[in-house]
Structures are given as C-alpha cells and as structure tokens.
Symmetry: C2
Subunit: 210 residues, 2 copies
C-alpha cells in the first residue's frame, strides 16, 4: 500500500488518494490512525464510520482541514438496512429525521463539517436513499461505491446524486476495474474498464444536463 501510494504521488500527483480504512476508535487511537493514514501513508482522504459519534472519536480526523473525511452514511451492502434503517424519531430545527442514516447525514452537515472537509459515503445500490440524502445535504460532496461488482445503477446514481452544479460525486468501482482481466495484459484491461466507466458517466451526465 505504501509503495502504491508513493508511486502515485510521484507520477500522478493530481490523483487524490482515498484510504478506505473505515476508521473509528476512541480519541487516543483515532489520533494515531489519523497519523498513520495521513503521515505514514500520505493519503489525501479517509473513510470513517460514524457509530462512535464525533466527540472523542472522529475529531482527530475532522480537524484535518487539508484532508477529506468521507463518513459512512448508508452503505452498499444488504445489511445496511439492519442498523442504518432503524426507525428513529429526531426533531431538529432543520426538520425531522426518521432513520439512523438520515440522522447521520443531518449531524454531518450541521455539526461535523466545520472545516468544510466532510463527504458522505452513500451506496449506489439504494438509489432512493441517495436521492433523499442529496436533498438533506444539498451540495455536500458524495462518495458512491457499489457501481460494478455490486451492481449499483449508474444512471440513477447520476440522476439522484449530482449536486446543483452537476458535480459533487466520486463514483467508485473497484473489482470491475482491478479484476477486469487475469491475463498478461490485465493492466490494459483495467485501463479500458476505467475509461469505459468514465465515458459512460460523462455521457449520462451530459444527457441529464440537457
């Protein structure tokens, strides 16, 4: 991992490195995880899990103004329903929230994003939830896994996920690209798979704009 990131930083410094560590621990441990991610690995952004809340857990990440903090909100796996869709009733000045993921989205926008470095992670496999999250968070950027091997719907991801400027999304595909081929020219196959997804995204986005 260190070698890969070093190679990227040296040869493609314009590519942001997101370390998908899904971190969350008590403050003393999170401090060292943040150090590990940003100093040792040189990541530009990390994913974090919101279950421990902000105080004494995620602050060592959130205080890094120069880094992106991608907070799990509604994940792409089927079990996302179990805890994240738990029925909740929270009334706030900004409206009422009926599930854990809605409440997480609300807390991030209104209480965790003081340094304007927060993103939400929202799986492409639940498009109606993506739509509702875009409404709650307005133009906060979203990181969307689940396209590719997990079969999320790309068209709906763009239709529901793009912000008011037709941007604000990182759409993430891993296995469909890195395992595009197991043959000798696997690297070329991966390149083609990445290009093809990029082109599909741009075509769909242009269509939605017009």
């Amino acid at each position: 991992l260190i070698d890969t990131i070093e190679y990227l930083k040296k040869n493609y410094p314009e590519i942001p490195v997101i370390l998908d560590g899904k971190f969350a621990d008590i403050e003393n441990s999170s401090k060292y995880y943040a150090k590990l991610a940003f100093e040792k690995f040189g990541a530009d952004a990390v994913t974090v899990n919101p279950y421990l809340g902000k105080e004494g857990a995620l602050e060592p990440f959130l205080e890094r103004k120069d880094k992106g903090i991608l907070i799990l909100c509604h994940t792409s796996n089927p079990g996302a329903k179990e805890i994240q869709e738990c029925s909740v009733l929270v009334l706030t000045l900004y409206g009422s929230f009926h599930s854990v993921w809605e409440y997480v989205a609300h807390q991030v926008v209104h209480h965790w994003n003081k340094n304007q470095n927060c993103w939400l992670v929202v799986g492409a496999t639940f498009p109606e939830i993506l739509k509702r999250i875009r409404e709650i968070v307005e133009d906060l950027p979203l990181f969307v896994p689940g396209i590719g091997a997990q079969r999320g719907d790309l068209e709906k991801t763009l239709r529901y996920g793009l912000d008011s400027q037709s941007g604000g999304l990182i759409i993430h595909s891993a296995r469909k690209i890195i395992y595009a081929s197991k043959r000798k020219y696997f690297a070329d196959a991966a390149k083609e798979a990445a290009k093809s997804l990029r082109d599909q995204i741009n075509i769909l986005r242009d269509r939605l704009r017009s």
Copy 2:
C-alpha cells in the same frame, strides 16, 4: 504486532489475543480482514463495528466458530451518545427497544450469535447502560474498556456487568498498564499495574458475591 503475537503464542499460549481492529466493511473486504486477523496475525478474537449490519458485512467474522467476535454496542468515548443513544422505537417479540445500542444488543443476542461466539463491547464509562445491557443479553459475555485512563468505575462495572455466575466479563485497561512508567524498569511497573488491577477486581468480585 505480528512479533508481539508470535511471542505471546509461543510463551503464553493460554493468553487469548484480541485484535481491536473495529472492523466492518462490505463482504469481499471483510473476508480479507478476517483472514488478516485470524490467519496472518493469529488473533483469537476481534472487535467489529455494527453500523453496516450483519448481512454482507460481518458474516465473514461471525461464521468463525473458533474465534471470538466482540461487537461494539455502547462505546466508552463521550461521542457514544450521538448516534448510539439516538431515540429509536423498535418493537419485537422480546420487548421494545428505545435506542440504537439497545437494538444492537438485541440483534446480536437473537440474530448474530448463532455460533455462540459473540461478545458485546460496553464502555465502563456509562455504568447505567452496562446494567441495562446485562439485562438484555443475560449471560452473553461482555468486553469492557474504559477502566484506567478513561476513568470508568470498576466497582459499578462489576456490580452491573457480572453475569449470573459472577463471570462473563473481560475488563480492559491499556494505557494505565502499558504506560505505567517511562523509566528503565517500565516492564516491571506494567506488571505491577496489571496485578494491582487484577487484585482489585477479585476483591470487589468476592465482596459482591457475599
């Protein structure tokens, strides 16, 4: 980490190794995290985060009948209140549940513990919640961090946390032991700190038994 665990396994094979990785990811990643924890590191147990739910996330851990799976329920940090204490209303055959941590405790006992390998992680810093969790989970074992540097209450931890057989608890102190001294004889100081905590636990437990 690998060296420390190897040393323990060779010299003190009776000591269980709990890898506090707070894992939780989509199934494909969790599969490799479980492999890393149990095969590469040789851990006997791991901690996991319940936010992603069981399906397509924690199954690669839970299916390991030979390993302990310690699931975060109510953590020891102050931010535990934010998401874990969110007001919920879930009605089940077994009763009604009013917060996320109560619901997690319920799900673990009734749906995640098929292999009898689940523990709950409950911080010592919220003793009233520990009490309620012991009621919900009956004799399920509990892992209790927060004694020591985080100033959890040891007497209440035992009073509320012990199971019906006066057992079922692992009480965890880290910094108070490993940082007991920074001098030359730090190892002896750590040994004394561990012994002292053990003795306190045993004295309190005997008192509660009688």
